[in-house]
Symmetry: C2
Subunit: 343 residues, 2 copies
């Protein structure tokens, strides 16, 4: 990472508005003091907001955008208006080489579509994939992809996702040789669809890659910390991720209900509050914020729309680490290895 | 339900062995005193076990089986040995009309395969499906199907699952007109695969069925109590169910860790123990035990292998309710309605 490396931020996306975005970027700036930030959006409003953050102001460039993508805009609408929106211009900063990565907390579908059209897929990648970090009982989070960019996938797509996911885990989780598994409905070789079995066969033969393929994993083992990268098509991945989020909230709601059920349990709750806050902290989506759109000629990070400043800072941190480790080059190298082997 | 209605029980399946099975059936017998039970397995051992349960003994018939299906038997192996196993003979009791339903806590794949071969699918059903009850924040559990019997499904399969799931919800949850949704990766009409969109179109047109089709539901809303039946292919359903189980256990593990993290939190835990036990009770799989294999000419209930006596009693209770409400006839009637409408 050179001292001139810059991260473009869609300052207008996100449910919390411009001030939450600026608070978050300012926090990230303190963690990554070598980076510069390109803040894209309404220039007068950004200038005004920056007056509260002299530390960020010193490391920020502003690029004006007249408009923004609304949360209910269809991807096709967003693409047509790309050049006038803060999201579209942030992506374009990456395309033009003015920034090494872009971060947005706006409309996911629009971001994926615009990034794909603008940046195009890397040589050797048929389709980009959305990857995120899941909390686990292990020492690190777990990378999961695809989370919804590709509703249907073939075996070749899944193998490419495995390569990209492993490269991302080496960067985001500091692992030398990530353990990679395919999400399936059983662990025996004959389980699942032809596509999954075919992908497994290809990964078993790929011992030259910088990853350990461990076979199939079922939904109930995802958070045990036994693997580092879970690979699946975007349909299953989206179902699994959202079911995990919903179940965690469900259990937390039941716990709240239980603690409120008697005076005694209310007292117990107050005494053990530091413990339950530890739990909340571990499960807080802000602490795992920053999904990555992998496989494009440029790095794009998607923040939760509802992230707070700390969540935005984490999403920017994800971008910073990828820039620092030159993730795109790593993926390209690994793909080159596969191609060379196949040839 | 006539006083002669009988439920066949594979007394040898299940991790807990014969005694746990008998304890569970004896509990169920107290809840459903009008039923009789056909206990299938090693006759001398069953007779000996029954001496501890005179109440059950009075309502039980014994059918001897020399062998049993092992937990690691392949379905094809199990089918070949069907006539000599407690599981196979329990299913055969249903086929011969000696029992109205069969319950087993043994090998799931073997049970599904043997039941399918022996009982065959109902007229109007292309493929049977596995349905279970999920805990929810609503007033009742939520029915979910398919959970793994069919890795890939077409729109027609999904519509049939919706009909069977709604009939099952009317029986198991005492609902007049269950709310039915399709599991998808978004709620907008254009989301998901062609198959899911096609199934949704067919269900939207099926206002004459005894169900309210509410559209798509995402994984994060499954346990909110907003719908009564979730329909999906067996791959997504298995991923969602297992991810939910795994996440609930993950959060419980984190909570335990948090409570153990300091003396203060240990004290708080002891004081609030009745509250956390309420939570454990709500999430205990034994309290939601009994998955149902729907769409066959005969009712088959699968218990968790690791169920305790209370779990076995619940699985037998699921069978008892289906027998009482004549579930197979209800499904046949609803299918007749669809066919008549289509003609």
């Amino acid at each position: 990472m050179t001292s001139s490396a810059r991260i473009a931020v869609d300052a207008m996306g996100g449910d919390g508005g411009l001030f939450v975005m600026l608070d978050g970027v300012a926090m990230a700036r303190r963690r990554f003091p070598d980076l510069r930030y390109v803040l894209v959006g309404d220039e007068p409003a950004i200038r005004k907001g920056l007056s509260r953050h002299p530390n960020l102001e010193a490391a920020a460039d502003i690029v004006h955008a007249d408009g923004m993508v609304a949360s209910d805009d269809k991807p096709s609408q967003a693409i047509r208006r790309a050049r006038s929106t803060s999201m579209g211009i942030a992506i374009d900063q990456v395309k033009q080489g003015n920034a090494a990565a872009a971060v947005s907390a706006g409309n996911t579908g629009a971001l994926m579509a615009m990034a794909k059209v603008s940046l195009r897929t890397m040589p050797g990648i048929d389709r980009p994939a959305l990857a995120a970090l899941l909390p686990s009982l292990g020492e690190t989070d777990t990378v999961m992809l695809d989370l919804g960019a590709n509703t249907e996938c073939d075996a070749r797509n899944l193998v490419q996702f495995a390569v990209m996911g492993a490269a991302y885990a080496r960067t985001a989780l500091d692992l030398a040789r990530p353990r990679v598994a395919l999400l399936n409905i059983g662990t025996e070789d004959q389980k699942g669809t032809d596509i999954i079995r075919d992908a497994a066969a290809q990964l078993r033969d790929a011992g030259h890659l910088n990853l350990d393929f461990t076979g199939f994993i079922e939904g109930d083992r995802l958070s045990r910390g036994e693997i580092d990268v879970v690979v699946c098509d975007g349909f299953s991945g989206n179902i699994a991720l959202k079911t995990a989020e919903g179940t965690a909230r469900f259990v937390a709601d039941l716990l709240k209900r239980a603690f409120r059920s008697s005076v005694r349990s209310k007292i117990g709750f107050l005494i053990s509050k530091p413990a339950t806050e530890l739990l909340r902290d571990h499960l807080d989506p802000n602490n795992h914020n920053g999904a990555v759109f992998l496989g494009l000629n440029g790095l794009i990070v998607k923040s939760h729309g509802g992230a707070n400043a700390s969540g935005i800072a984490n999403a920017v941190g994800v971008a910073a680490k990828m820039v620092r480790d030159d993730l795109s080059r790593r993926i390209a190298d690994d793909l080159g290895n596969i191609e060379a082997r196949a040839a």
